[in-house]
Symmetry: C2
Subunit: 349 residues, 2 copies
């Protein structure tokens, strides 16, 4: 490792004119072998410039998706087993042993809690308490990791469908999606939500024999996890449907609210970014942005100044990195050059 | 405005040596009068360097707190009125007209939905649907704006109590709190949650005459918003208590889960920051960080490079600001200087 770095330090640095600044020269990413294991990338296909691949959001999300899926299966498996074993300590409208156990497990984890089945002994009550807390945590995990990824995959289909007459290419779709990410995710969730509400209402009115208002009322009471319990799924086929539908629709509504919040944050953030970028630069700003106080503002100084104004980075972030910078700037020249790296190397050996 | 800027541009710029870089010279913040109204600061006391006061989180939060408090009062007021007017269309265990209306409103907005009171006509059912959706949005608003602020105010008390024997001063408390913000917020919420669970359990066993297991089961079923409804508040005094206790405890548990998620994100983020800061700088990194390609890395270039590695800023952020930079760099010198500002001024007039 030490020899490696020494060799690297001896390589001549590329010094080209400023006009070539925006040339497409590929900057290689060199990752240290000491990168923490839990930050190690999982995806070999991403090729971001000098961002460590640990940050590749897609790779992380795909890994999380599998993990969360596994958690869900284990949770439902253990839940079903437990509630099946205490099935005689649960009173209410029953259909089939295993089916009721899964149904009760889903109704509990999503905190719908109709009350059509209720625990009726100390053991089953404490079991329900344990499963509702872990269920909440699991739903939170699904919302923070996987739901977003699954919605993201549908964006392309939506944009394609919206532009079906214009016959736009894949590149245009990618661009359009990138520019309006949150908006399209919100739309996808909204469409899915409307479909889930319609399907639920039709199902309840047909299979559970409710009139249309009651069916809609039961749907609303379920997806919001309100679950008064005066109307619920009482038939065998109804409960099979409920297991999948309750899980999907409660998560869908929660995700819908999350995107709504994100949309409002984003529009406020965009207004601030626009204001920061368009407002006139004054000599006072110039002085404030001039980090090395040489009378002029370089590109990097301008970036730090503006991103700080936008609130993307904080003074603490800057100070943390500056400490590291001063340590590396061994010859105190105010810049890090190849000679600093060599000095650092020789002081180690 | 134009004259103002012209005068400012003529002021000589401070050019001092690099050693003075970290001097405590006050950098004035000059805000443009064209700042959008909804980004305008509300707090006159903050004095951050060149961050626009629009971003002062305390000011924003205090304003939001008032707004959210107002929303809550309006929601409960309108809800109570509506459910009082349809009180004959709600069946179940009743105590007092107005009290039941407030209680039903709180049980609905928090999505607890015991089912001890259920709407029994088309009008009351649709009303409940409307109030549960708006209630969810309101709880979301409380969680994203106010709850955090209220918890933050208690941190100091906690740290003070933890160090009561050591008699530490206010400065030390502030430092300790700053360094472990999320951890202390999490602890405050945990303590509050335990207190709320204990108070709820004792109250239910005393006033509602439940045995201790049933009281605890009802508490768990309520704070998680499960609300099976086999045990609930059925006495007059119980419902008065429930109105305040349900609202506080459901929000407290949700906030607890939010801090738990924040803690895990923070520890992962800190591991990444530590890794980025401690790993050795190689000549390849040097080349990648060298934005203006002059062979050396300035402080600002180093900040941009490291913060990008940490994932705090993205390539898109940088490109957006670079566009603005190139527009401002009228003489194409690769830096913005007072002469660029004067050129910009003269081209306008």
């Amino acid at each position: 490792m030490a020899i490696d770095d020494e060799n690297a330090a001896k390589q001549p640095l590329l010094t080209s004119s400023l006009d070539q600044k925006r040339s497409s020269k590929r900057r290689r990413l060199r990752r240290s072998r000491s990168m923490p294991v839990d930050l190690t990338p999982l995806d070999k296909t991403t090729n971001n410039e000098f961002i460590p691949r640990a940050l590749s959001p897609f790779a992380k999300v795909r890994y999380n998706l599998k993990r969360v899926g596994l958690f869900l299966i284990v949770y439902l498996g253990v839940g079903t087993l437990c509630f099946y074993l205490v099935k005689d300590h649960i009173r209410g409208e029953k259909t089939n042993g295993v089916l009721d156990a899964v149904y009760f497990c889903v109704v509990t984890m999503t905190t719908v809690g109709y009350g059509d089945l209720v625990p009726d002994s100390i053991a089953s009550k404490l079991l329900a308490c344990a499963f509702v807390f872990t269920g909440m945590a699991l739903i939170g995990l699904i919302l923070s990791n996987s739901a977003d990824y699954l919605v993201e995959k549908q964006e392309f289909l939506l944009v394609k469908a919206l532009h079906i007459r214009q016959k736009i290419g894949t590149t245009e779709i990618v661009k359009e999606v990138e520019a309006n990410k949150v908006k399209y995710k919100f739309l996808v969730t909204l469409i899915l939500l409307v479909v889930l509400i319609l399907v639920g209402t039709v199902f309840l009115s047909r299979v559970e024999d409710l009139d249309i208002i009651d069916a809609f009322y039961c749907v609303c009471s379920t997806i919001t996890t309100l679950g008064y319990g005066d109307k619920s799924f009482s038939t065998r086929i109804g409960r099979v449907f409920a297991i999948f539908w309750i899980l999907t629709s409660t998560i869908c509504l929660a995700q819908f609210f999350l995107y709504l919040a994100e949309l409002s944050t984003e529009s406020r953030q965009q207004a601030l970014v626009k204001w920061v970028l368009t407002r006139k630069m004054t000599s006072v700003d110039l002085e404030a942005a001039d980090l090395d106080e040489n009378g002029t503002v370089s590109a990097a100084e301008f970036i730090v100044f503006k991103l700080k104004e936008m609130g993307k980075i904080s003074q603490e972030d800057i100070e943390l990195v500056m400490e590291e910078f001063e340590e590396l700037d061994i010859d105190q020249s105010g810049t890090i050059s190849a000679s600093d790296l060599m000095l650092a190397q020789s002081s180690l050996t």
